[in-house]
């Protein structure tokens, strides 16, 4: 079915991913067959790792879509492919805010990809060391993407940086300090401020609360809710924590061995899981 038939004019997906795959290894005639039997996600003949297999999803404006799965299920690799940290092997990614969804983002030149990273996506990594420059001041971290997008005014960037730091509850007296000096929760909040610097329409959140203590987790989740409400940002949230998914996500996809095995409304998935793995996942929720 064509997109125009499926959705109304105001219901076009903000981000649409079709048949995205990521392989580590060349693949062989055995594992490249559509219904190939793999040893989990590894080809028994050639050893190729099929980290992401044929994943399709859509994120609508203002919607939060969750991706759950155990460690090694391919959810982080999937996010990295979207943010160009990893090169996807095949597939299509289209973003409405970039060019109306005309181009497959995976075919763009490095310069165009940089523009997408700087203006369309904001990424928050599980490990703040991946997303922040620990030796630069927090304000500089927030300014980085603005500089990359062409801003050359210190006053404007400082103003925006201070606005965002206030927003994520970092005292401005510490704005000139490098995140290295901060606690894990503060680092994560600086990372969120950084991801928001250019007002990106789509946020990619990879295990944002993992490793934080419960009260800080709650504060970060609260912040994400506020951001969605105030800026109408679409989000893709990856987590292995079903509590986080239940609190944030409108719709959820369950990944196992690189594949999406189940998808639907979050409540449905949590209350009435269909796939054996999802059932196991839900019932093991403490």
């Amino acid at each position: 079915m064509l997109d125009e038939q499926r959705f109304g004019a105001d219901e076009t997906p903000c981000l649409s991913v079709r048949h995205l795959s990521k392989r580590f290894g060349a693949g062989c005639s055995h594992c490249l067959e559509p219904g190939a039997q793999l040893n989990r996600n590894v080809c028994p003949r050639c050893g190729t790792v099929h980290a992401v297999r044929d994943v399709s999803l859509e994120v609508f404006p203002g919607e939060i879509v969750g991706v759950v799965g155990e460690s090694g299920s391919g959810k982080s690799t999937f996010m990295k492919c979207l943010f160009f940290d990893e090169e996807a092997t095949e597939g299509e990614v289209r973003a409405l805010p970039y060019d109306g969804g005309a181009a497959n983002l995976l075919d763009l030149s490095p310069q165009q990809r940089r523009a997408v990273r700087n203006t369309v996506f904001g990424m928050v990594y599980q490990n703040p060391y991946l997303g922040l420059r620990m030796d630069f001041s927090s304000l500089s971290n927030i300014a980085e993407q603005m500089i990359a997008a062409g801003s050359r005014s210190v006053g404007v960037m400082r103003g925006r940086g201070e606005e965002l730091l206030t927003r994520v509850n970092i005292p401005l007296t510490r704005a000139a300090e490098p995140p290295r000096n901060f606690s894990g929760g503060m680092q994560q909040r600086v990372q969120i401020a950084k991801a928001l610097s250019n007002n990106p329409p789509i946020l990619l959140l990879d295990e944002v609360t993992t490793g934080l203590d419960l009260s800080v987790q709650a504060a970060v989740l609260d912040l994400i809710q506020q951001i969605r409400r105030d800026f109408n940002v679409s989000m893709l949230v990856v987590s292995h924590d079903l509590g986080v998914i239940r609190m944030l996500a409108d719709r959820t996809l369950v990944m196992l061995d690189g594949r999406v095995i189940e998808s639907g409304l979050t409540d449905q998935i949590l209350e009435d899981p269909q796939h054996a793995y999802t059932q196991q996942l839900v019932y093991s929720l403490l």
Partner: protein, 293 residues
């Protein structure tokens, strides 16, 4: 001259390889050309990059001047001069206007250079993005894609932390609208002398094995922000104690006997020439020939 070495120390094949790198550097202003940096009789980090450029270019009709921190007489300058003179028999000079080839560390002479002069600068760290990104493979890609966020970010970070950019020397410049380049640790005062200069500037980094160039009449623009414009060191109201020059780059020194501070020209040859001229014709006047006068 007793011929213990080939002319100018190097074998001809080495000179040719270095000249080829130089030509490429001149063709792509500001681009760092890798080259096979040779073992030299001085240690890496003591000017081997500049020395290799000098040796590969020098010919019998050249006149050589070597400066270290503005001085013709410092140990490093004297030793480099001696090595080149011993292996080439070229004439050496301290007078900037007489030299055809000027190797320098940290300064561009006060007297504007002419089109028939070549300035060779010794470079410790040729990569302007190095402190932002330690991996060479990545910085090369950033240059290829003209992604200079890192160079701007460094300056922004300095402003955030200290209220001003703190690049005392080696302030990054955009060359010919394309490559961001480390101009070697020359003071900001000298950065603007590279812009649309009449002379050719060659930069050599021996330890890092890179050669790059600013050809004559090339745009060189220091990086800065709209609300924090680039500025050079200022010496308002100060003049050289020896020759009285104003509007030049001055060293601040302390008289150990009296504890007083005083200023003196950093470019010793420039200062000496002014004093010699004063003895001939005792008319006093501030130096107007420099670009910042």
């Amino acid at each position: 001259m007793q011929q213990h070495y080939n002319y100018a120390f190097f074998d001809e094949a080495s000179k040719r390889e270095i000249r080829r790198a130089i030509i490429k550097g001149v063709s792509i202003p500001g681009y760092q050309v890798p080259f096979a940096s040779r073992e030299m009789p001085i240690g890496r980090g003591w000017g081997t990059g500049g020395l290799q450029i000098t040796l590969s270019l020098i010919g019998r009709s050249d006149v050589l001047k070597v400066i270290d921190q503005g001085s013709d007489d410092s140990v490093n300058a004297v030793n480099i001069k001696k090595l080149v003179a011993d292996t080439t028999d070229v004439e050496v000079t301290e007078a900037t206007e007489e030299a055809t080839l000027i190797q320098s560390r940290h300064r561009i002479p006060e007297r504007p250079l002419r089109a028939d002069q070549i300035l060779v600068l010794q470079v410790p760290t040729p990569e302007p993005l190095r402190s932002f990104e330690p991996r060479e493979a990545v910085t090369r890609r950033l240059h290829a894609e003209a992604d200079y966020t890192g160079a701007w970010l460094e300056l922004f970070d300095q402003i955030v932390r200290h209220g001003t950019t703190t690049t005392g020397a080696d302030h990054p410049v955009l060359v010919n609208g394309r490559y961001v380049m480390a101009p070697s640790p020359i003071p900001r005062f000298d950065n603007l002398k590279l812009h649309q200069a009449d002379h050719l500037t060659l930069l050599g980094a021996g330890r890092e094995k890179k050669i790059y160039a600013v050809p004559p009449h090339t745009d060189v623009a220091p990086l800065d922000f709209e609300d924090y414009p680039f500025s050079v060191e200022r010496f308002d109201g100060k003049r050289c104690r020896l020759c009285g020059a104003e509007g030049v780059y001055l060293d601040e020194l302390v008289d150990e006997a009296t504890g007083e501070t005083y200023h003196q020209c950093n470019d010793t040859a420039f200062c000496a020439a002014r004093r010699a001229a004063r003895e001939d014709a005792p008319s006093e006047g501030s130096w107007e020939g420099g670009r910042h006068a």
